[in-house]
Amino acid sequence: MKDLFVVAIVVMIFIIIFQIAKASEYVSVLKGEEKSRKQNNKINGFLLICFLVLGLTGAWYCNELYFGKTLFPQGSASVEGEKIDLMLYITFGVTGTVFIITQVLLFWFAFKYQEKEGKKAFYFPHNTKLELLWTTVPAIFLTVLVVFGLKYWFKMTGDAPKNAVVVEITGHQFAWDMRYPGKDGKLGKKNFKLYNQPSGNTLAVDFEDPESWDDLHTTDMHLPVGRPVKLVINAMDVIHDVGLSHFRMKMDAVPGIPTTMWFTPKYTTEEMKVRTGNPNFVYEISCDQMCGKGHFSMRGVIVVESEADYNKWLASQKPEYFTLFPNKDPEKQNQATDSASIANKPIAQLMPSN
């Protein structure tokens, strides 16, 4: 009933506007079309200049309202991201100036040179000097922006520093999984054909590779503050994207083609709570590449903490190898072997050969 009422009102408004518009057409015929055309011209010229003034005021007001909600007042949470912020401000400066000049000229010219009785337009078909001017000036500014941009681009996409913490992150519909290389500092090999859900080998790790034996499999990502971190990015099913807006970082996760990115976290999660004034602050990993119906809920969490807390956390994690093959766990080998749980692992190829 309420819906019908709304529809009826909308239809009524349409009919009223339509009738007014039709009536105005008759009025303009009565008044003389030329006269009403000139009147319309004046009104629209005036509206154009109003639009300019209100529009620029609106842009300023919008900035007042929302700039505080963007990530820039709180600063980048990674060292590398600060360069991106600086570039953003430079680009803002350049484009903002061009924006204001061109929009003001556009609407001001439209208003100022509106049709007037007896006025003649100025025949001005071309002027080589002017055209050269606005070819070269933008070219110079763009060169500056390109040089800055590429300098940072090559730095950020270059190799990660040697002391970087390596973490592997794997996306699948619709969650993230992390893998830490363990004490040997090396991640074990993977082969997608070894994927086995019942056994728990959801990352398709090749457990015949001894380097995999000390690897940790976690759902949250913990990182030490102030140390570079290199992410090795995988996807199981479709393309995902590791979006880390606080660190100004982003990289696709492509099935079959591992990608990498690196950055240096600057503030711990606790420090960010203070910086943002938000006690619930948390570093979130958003999936930034459309990946299916649960795309919007593919959320991951990063905890940035002090080196000591990070090491404590690492020590509390158990290698996945031992969770999947409890009989290989040195802690459990003293206890009676739980043969039943091994029998539950149906895939023989998952068993280490030794």
């Binding site: 506007i17 639009f51 919008c62 337009a121 099913d237 958003s286």
Partner: protein
């Protein structure tokens, strides 16, 4: 009137009066349905485009309702969509289907077919002085292939698993695997087949436009005397003919991957607990093939809007377009560069950083011809005697939006900045303003300007002014604040942000944007009503040249028949922008150059 006799008439001007009405043996079917008259085909493209625009726009209203208030339920939505909106709440699968179809419809069916299809067909023969296209038959087929594509795409809305839902860019593996998404089942096959038909339509049209422009210009119409509309439509057709086949090949390979077990795009995949046998393919390959069309596509959409706005700005400023050769040159530069920048959509795919840097350079290079165009438009207005017809307002609006959206491209084209902004609302704001709304403004400008030529009647002016003002204010209100959401990292294509600590503070803004979107959509309906009402009831055009313009279409009768000019085709003696020259308000192209006339 058959193709043969048309060409004969064109070649033997002496027999031109054999073209009179009494020689037409046209039935309703040949005149309005399977017509070979370029003007009728143009109207068919326009009307089909308008229908698609209403559907595509309505889809955006539905998903904006979801974004505006993720917790609200709308019982009427369930009546409309059934199980896709269980309990009156849009389901995520269908939200993504709507987003995908909104993009597909607006980019291809409205702003490519509806815009180029309409104005290339309508304006090319009339403005270069030809009786029809080089091949009216291919032209007719071009429309009917588009119609077929439309029927197939429309039918995909009614299959049980729903239409394609992987985004309009249909990246595999998501689009290749039925297990990954409901929309990747039969809906995706229909999408690909429909697009194949669409590409055939676009190629038939494009080849025809190029041939007609190169071969069928009237006497005296040298290339440098062509209106900028024709130049822009020419470059648009070149872009389409060279890039659409690449998308076709990409789409066919995707069909193979989906149905024949090939591995062009698939490798190392475990989906829904199933290990797929595919190895050795590359998901990124598809993105290269897609964007090799996808980026030129942006210019396929934008160039006609640029050309029409240039023409309309000049006519209504009563001044020549400033820097004609620079305008043509910058169109040419944009056309070449359009082919060399596609990978700027792929900066975060793990692309080789050196390759990325080349694409940064080439992408930002496009800003130079774009800047030339903007400053030339501004100079065209300078010291003019401007008439604010509805078409002129939309052309001015086009320039404003092109500036706003173009400048944010400088952020996104710079790869280091793109890392942060990629796939956020900043991108949505950027491309909706510069390619979506700006091109729509170009299209509206074109419709308001050439409507009297199309239908012999005017659109209602008051409704036109309401339409313009609410649309331009609304468009800025919708898309301007989205830049801020993007700067906060808010990702695109999210169904609900309320569980995200980082993004949930924009709930109020999203509600505001949805509210404005609803109003702007309603005003477009007002335009559609105005459009159809005026075809039959609009004020009649009484003079041959209502805008006092120089181009040839205004030398044809008010309602031109098939063949356009009843007698001889007018001969051209000058460029189309002799406004305010030698104290004369305007001098049409078919007026011979006087002995005492100054040179420009």
């Amino acid at each position: 009137m058959s193709t043969m006799s048309l060409q004969e008439t064109a070649h033997h001007e002496g027999h031109a009066d054999a073209h009179g009405e009494h020689h037409h043996h046209e039935t309703f079917i040949t005149k309005y349905v399977f017509s070979q008259d370029h003007k009728t085909i143009a109207k068919q493209f326009l009307v089909t485009g308008i229908i698609w625009a209403i559907i595509g726009g309505f889809f955006s209203v539905i998903f904006r309702l979801q974004l505006g208030d993720p917790n609200a339920t709308y019982p009427w939505l369930e009546d409309l969509l059934g199980h896709w909106a269980k309990g009156g709440k849009l389901q995520p699968e269908f939200y993504y289907a709507l987003v995908t179809m909104h993009g597909t419809i607006l980019v291809f069916f409205v702003l490519t077919a509806g815009l180029s299809g309409t104005f290339a067909n309508f304006l090319i023969p009339l403005q270069i002085g030809a009786r029809d296209m080089a091949s009216p038959m291919l032209n007719m087929l071009s429309y009917w292939f588009f119609f077929l594509a439309s029927v197939i795409m429309m039918s995909s809305l009614f299959v049980q698993t729903g239409p394609a839902s992987g985004g309009w860019t249909i990246y595999p593996p998501l689009s290749a695997l039925g297990e990954a998404s409901l929309g990747s089942k039969i809906g995706m096959d229909l999408w690909l087949v429909s697009m194949a038909m669409f590409i055939v339509s676009s190629l038939l049209g494009g080849l025809n436009y190029i041939t007609t422009i190169l071969n069928m210009r009237t006497k005296g119409m040298s290339m440098t005397r062509m209106p900028l509309t024709i130049w822009s439509l020419f470059f648009t057709a070149v872009l389409g003919v060279l890039s659409f086949p690449v998308l076709l090949s990409g789409a066919i390979l995707l069909l193979f991957d989906r149905n024949l077990g090939t591995s062009f795009y698939l490798s190392d995949i475990v989906v829904a607990g199933k290990i797929l046998p595919n190895e050795g393919g590359s998901a990124i390959l598809f993105q290269h093939l897609f964007w090799f069309l996808g980026h030129p596509e942006v210019y396929i959409i934008l160039l006609p809007a640029m050309g029409m706005s240039s023409e309309i700005l000049s006519v209504n400023s009563r001044k020549p377009i400033f820097g004609y050769m620079a305008m043509v040159g910058s169109l040419f530069a944009i056309t070449i560069l359009a082919f060399l920048v596609w990978a700027h959509h792929m900066f975060v795919t793990g692309l080789n950083p050196f390759l990325g840097s080349v694409f940064v350079l080439l992408t930002l290079l496009i800003a130079v011809p774009s800047a030339i165009k903007v400053f030339n438009w501004l100079t065209t207005l300078w010291r003019g005697n401007i008439r604010f017809t509805p078409a002129m307002l939309f052309a001015i609006g086009f320039v404003s939006l092109f500036i706003s959206g173009g400048l944010t491209g400088i952020f996104l084209g710079n790869s280091a900045l793109d890392i942060h902004l990629h796939d956020t609302y900043f991108v949505i704001a950027h491309f909706h303003i510069v390619m979506g709304v700006a091109s729509f403004f170009g299209m509206f400008a074109g419709v308001y300007h050439w409507y009297p030529k199309m239908f012999g009647r005017y659109l209602n002016n008051t409704l036109a002014y309401i339409h313009f003002w609410i649309t331009i204010v609304g468009a800025y209100l919708i898309f301007w604040p989205m830049h801020y959401e993007g700067l906060a990292g808010m990702p695109r294509r999210y169904y609900d942000f309320s569980n995200w600590e980082s993004f949930k503070m924009f709930g109020g803004l999203n509600e505001f944007i949805s509210f404005v979107a609803l109003i702007v959509f309603a005003v477009q309906i007002l335009f559609v009503i105005n459009f159809f009402y005026s075809i039959w009831k609009g004020r009649k055009v009484t003079t041959q040249n209502p805008w006092e313009a120089n181009t040839l279409e205004w030398t044809a009768p008010i309602r031109p028949g098939h063949g356009n000019w009843p007698g001889e085709i007018p001969e051209v003696y000058r460029w189309p922008y002799d406004y305010a020259k030698d104290g004369k308000d305007f001098i049409p192209q078919n007026v011979p150059v006087g002995a005492d006339e100054s040179k420009h």
